[in-house]
């Protein structure tokens, strides 16, 4: 899978315009997407620890492994940050000094949207997440060997988990604004960070279902049964509804107030990306809603696997739709400024209007990288946290 990815990236790079916009936007898209998945795994794990949750214990090592992908995520984001310093790419309108000087709004934002904040903010915040992920993992693995009957490890994890929640709550918003929202440097929406997080969360849960079923088929996790998957299915259903709720809140309020500075965002997407726009709602809301509403569909491996695969891909499309229109707009403006006619013409741009084979190849590559890291981490410890105080509850879990 990673080979497909590397091949796709190289092919994209070679066939790209001279800013390599397509290449870099694909790197950004997938880096943010999978880092987000890892972050959501950490977040849900911390939330579960804090809430004294028991049922997930039997497969919590999967979420721990997911959260450790943050280390790779940090590297990926740093590559993009270095790209801003080195002028390798032009993903962000605000990174172009000439544009900022001639633009009052961008000048106003420049104390937040600048390469220092982007680099060191990301380094600090993702670094914090990495710290929490590693510490929780260490405690969890250590509990297998040194766990005692006072549940010292569980107690320590609760402290960490509780501390991680507000840290992630505040910092994730700041980074999502920088990484994602700022590709449309003029536009803003207070809900955006939560909306993007909901998208990542659905993906994370869908990936968990895929991972568990994949491993179960191969004979691992014999104690994970349909009851656990049923509950994960409920989570997937609930977060899909939550995503829709946020999508609707953002769209409806902007549509209703009809302020041009805000509607421009949806105007572009609705009129220039109609396929993706409607696909986004259809695949991320209508399909999971209709399929997962029934009780029995959440108790069938086949249906769950199918819906999970669709949701991972369609939330990836959601991020595509968040990022690409802003990036191509920036690229067009720069090209126009550089006196390159022709680029600005309307019509489809490969890799932007719709994801092409190279985008999908890159996605597969990153997915491969993600699973490589996750399975590598899973191998390093027992799959069953044998001294976790909640283990018995989890084993005999029934919905």
């Amino acid at each position: 899978m990673m080979l497909v990815g590397i091949f796709s990236l190289v092919a994209t790079y070679i066939g790209d315009d001279h800013f390599h916009t397509r290449f870099w936007s694909n790197v950004l898209h997938n880096s943010v997407f999978f880092t987000g998945v890892a972050l959501m795994a950490l977040f849900l794990l911390a939330a579960k620890i804090t809430a004294w949750s028991g049922w997930h214990t039997i497969f919590k090592r999967v979420w721990e492994a997911y959260s450790l992908f943050l280390v790779v995520g940090l590297v990926l984001i740093m590559i993009i940050a270095l790209g801003i310093w080195g002028g390798w790419h032009h993903l962000y309108h605000w990174a172009d000094i000439k544009s900022v000087e001639s633009d009052v709004i961008l000048t106003g934002k420049s104390s937040f949207l600048n390469k220092n904040w982007y680099t060191f903010g990301s380094l600090l915040f993702v670094g914090l997440w990495v710290f929490f992920a590693i510490r929780i993992r260490q405690l969890s693995v250590d509990e297998d060997i040194n766990g005692d009957s006072n549940f010292t490890h569980a107690r320590k994890m609760r402290v960490l988990g509780a501390a991680a929640l507000p840290v992630i709550g505040f910092t994730s918003a700041a980074l999502i604004w920088q990484w994602v929202m700022s590709v449309d440097a003029h536009w803003y929406s207070t809900l955006f960070a939560w909306y993007a997080s909901a998208s990542m969360m659905v993906t994370m849960i869908a990936l968990t279902i895929i991972t568990l079923i994949m491993l179960k088929v191969r004979g691992y996790f014999p104690l994970v049964n349909i009851e656990h998957l049923h509950d994960l299915g409920k989570y997937m259903f609930a977060f899909s509804i939550f995503w829709t709720y946020l999508w609707f809140s953002q769209y409806m309020l902007i549509w209703y107030a009809n302020i041009p500075e805000e509607t421009i965002y949806f105007n572009t997407r609705l009129h220039q990306y109609p396929v993706l726009f409607y696909l986004n709602i259809g695949l991320n809301f209508v399909l999971p809603f209709l399929v997962l509403l029934r009780n029995d569909t959440k108790r069938k491996y086949g249906t769950l696997l199918f819906i999970s695969c669709v949701l991972v891909f369609s939330h990836w499309l959601d991020f595509f739709l968040m990022l690409k229109p802003g990036i191509i707009h920036t690229a067009h403006e720069l090209a126009a400024a550089a006196g390159e006619a022709g680029h600005h013409t309307a019509g489809a741009t490969p890799g932007f209007t719709l994801p092409g084979f190279l985008e999908i190849g890159t996605f597969i590559g990153f997915l491969g990288l993600f699973f490589f890291v996750v399975f590598n981490r899973l191998e390093k410890a027992s799959l069953v946290p044998s001294r976790d105080p909640y283990l018995m509850e989890s084993v005999s879990h029934h919905t």
Partner: protein, 486 residues
């Protein structure tokens, strides 16, 4: 054994080694005794407050809403502030019943009944405000869309104010049904112990419940359906209340984070009100074994979480206001923090975001007195939040020439105090008539969470499970009634 194993790390939820009979005795007896002094005194005070409120409402209707000192710029003052405040409080009950039921949180059983009752009374108080704030209450039926001969006078379906009518009435209906469904078996328990007029009354209220397997089965499936219906309703009500503001183009009101942030705030204030009531109720009615410190701690955690979510939302608003580069938006927030009503913004931040952070300390979370004061703080803070959003924002219009200031009149204050009175009158009657803690539900969790059944920390050795093996060995010992396994 039939009961699912409960982790030895968990605290018991029913204390005092209760038997099923003792539970019935403890929970029914408050409805069977004559009221105590504390109850009588509280009832008189509540009734007086309610009377002040009703008189104020009559004055408002008689004279007009001019008696509130609203002005052309500030068209909404305490009225809508109170409305949103009460609606927010009215969220916790159904949230506890429906959402915590879905998350299988057993601690909900101790508090769900009272919280649901509170929801219903709070929604009644809330619904008063849209009715009286229109000024001409005799035409309030214009709210409702039905075929009529009024020509062009027809509710505007594009208006979130109309959506409010639908959302709140639906929410009220489902909450009421949900609450009552839970009450039926408990009313039957009271009925079976009662004599004379009380027997007749509870016979009527319990709808001929016999406790047969068929009854229980129907009861359970109805509860599940209602929980499913109530969950989206809990979210929809405050979402639509937030639309009242966010669909406008007023800086400070039009912001996309409003729907989820209002819902989080509603849960926050609802739980605070539940705490206020529970802390008093458990003391007065001697229910410390059912509403334990563990319950209080859990609710305090919810308060900490939702308070922090609200904090994230406040800072997001503040930051994006600056980030937007839109001068009116920037001014709206400058005005909130440093304008004429700066104290309400300050009060909001202190009570809602800073003070709940005290709950990071386990000691404070488990301290009943602190919990009581904190819950009052949060109630105040959430009232300020709505005041900040409504009055502070309206006071500074686009044109400085229409800037204004507003201080409520005695009539408007009276209506607010009056609704608190009405709320407590209802609540106090409720604790006399119905079991405040759901008898049937407590009995349901007794075997898994009663203290005589839960192995407490340290008494057990570790559970060990070999990976890949299905033979589970429990190396436990002692009185492991609920935990024997094979």
């Amino acid at each position: 054994m039939g009961a699912a194993p409960t982790s030895p790390i968990r605290e018991p939820l029913v204390q005092g080694h209760k038997t099923y009979h003792q539970i019935t005795e403890d929970l029914c007896s408050p409805t069977e005794r004559a009221p105590g002094k504390a109850w009588t005194l509280a009832f008189i005070v509540a009734l007086m407050a309610a009377t002040w409120g009703i008189v104020s409402i009559i004055i408002t209707i008689w004279v007009g809403i001019g008696t509130w000192r609203l002005n052309r710029t500030i068209g909404w003052g305490w009225d809508i502030t109170n409305f949103v405040w009460w609606i927010g409080i009215g969220h916790a009950g159904t949230l506890i019943s429906a959402i915590l039921l879905l998350f299988r949180q057993k601690w909900r059983t101790g508090v769900n009944r009272a919280a649901e009752a509170m929801t219903i009374f709070a929604v009644i108080c809330a619904a008063l405000f849209p009715a009286i704030h229109v000024g001409r209450i005799w035409v309030v039926f214009f709210f409702f869309p039905y075929p009529n001969t009024r020509g062009p006078v027809w509710p505007n379906f594009n208006s979130p104010l109309l959506w409010d009518v639908f959302a709140i009435s639906t929410y009220f209906t489902v909450s009421l049904l949900f609450w009552y469904t839970g009450l039926v078996p408990d009313f039957a328990t009271v009925r079976d112990r009662a004599k004379g007029f009380r027997k007749k009354m509870y016979t009527f209220l319990s709808f001929g419940w016999t406790g047969s397997a068929k009854h229980w089965q129907r009861h359970e499936s109805l509860s599940l359906v209602l929980a499913g219906l109530a969950t989206p309703l809990v979210l929809s009500v405050h979402t639509i209340v937030s639309f009242d503001f966010a669909t406008s183009v007023i800086p400070g009101w039009h912001t996309t984070i409003f729907p989820p942030y209002f819902v989080a705030g509603a849960i926050f204030s609802g739980f605070a009100m539940v705490q206020t009531l529970m802390v008093i109720t458990r003391k007065v009615l001697n229910l410390q074994n059912y509403i334990t410190i563990g319950h209080i701690e859990s609710m305090n955690k919810v308060i900490l979480v939702t308070g922090t979510i609200v904090g994230v939302a406040y800072l997001t608003e503040l930051f994006i206001a600056w980030y937007s580069g839109y001068v009116y938006e920037q001014f709206a927030f400058f005005n909130r923090a440093l304008g004429p009503y700066w104290w309400s913004y300050f009060g909001m931040m202190t009570c809602n975001v800073l003070s709940p952070q005290l709950f990071w300390s386990k000691k404070i979370r488990r301290n009943v007195t602190m919990t009581f004061f904190m819950s009052i703080f949060v109630n105040i803070g959430m009232w300020f939040e709505r005041f900040v959003i409504i009055a502070t924002t309206l006071a500074r219009d686009y044109l400085p020439s229409s800037w204004s200031f507003y201080v409520p009149s005695i009539v408007e204050i009276g209506i607010y105090v009056g609704t608190i009175g009405i709320f407590f009158v209802f609540y106090l009657v409720f604790v006399r008539v119905a079991p405040v803690v759901a008898i049937a539900e407590i009995k349901h969790i007794l075997k898994s969470s009663g203290d005589q059944y839960v192995i407490t920390n340290g008494q057990t050795t570790l559970h060990q499970i070999e990976q890949g093996g299905t033979a589970l060995q429990v190396a436990g010992h002692g009185d492991s009634h609920g935990n024997a396994h094979h």
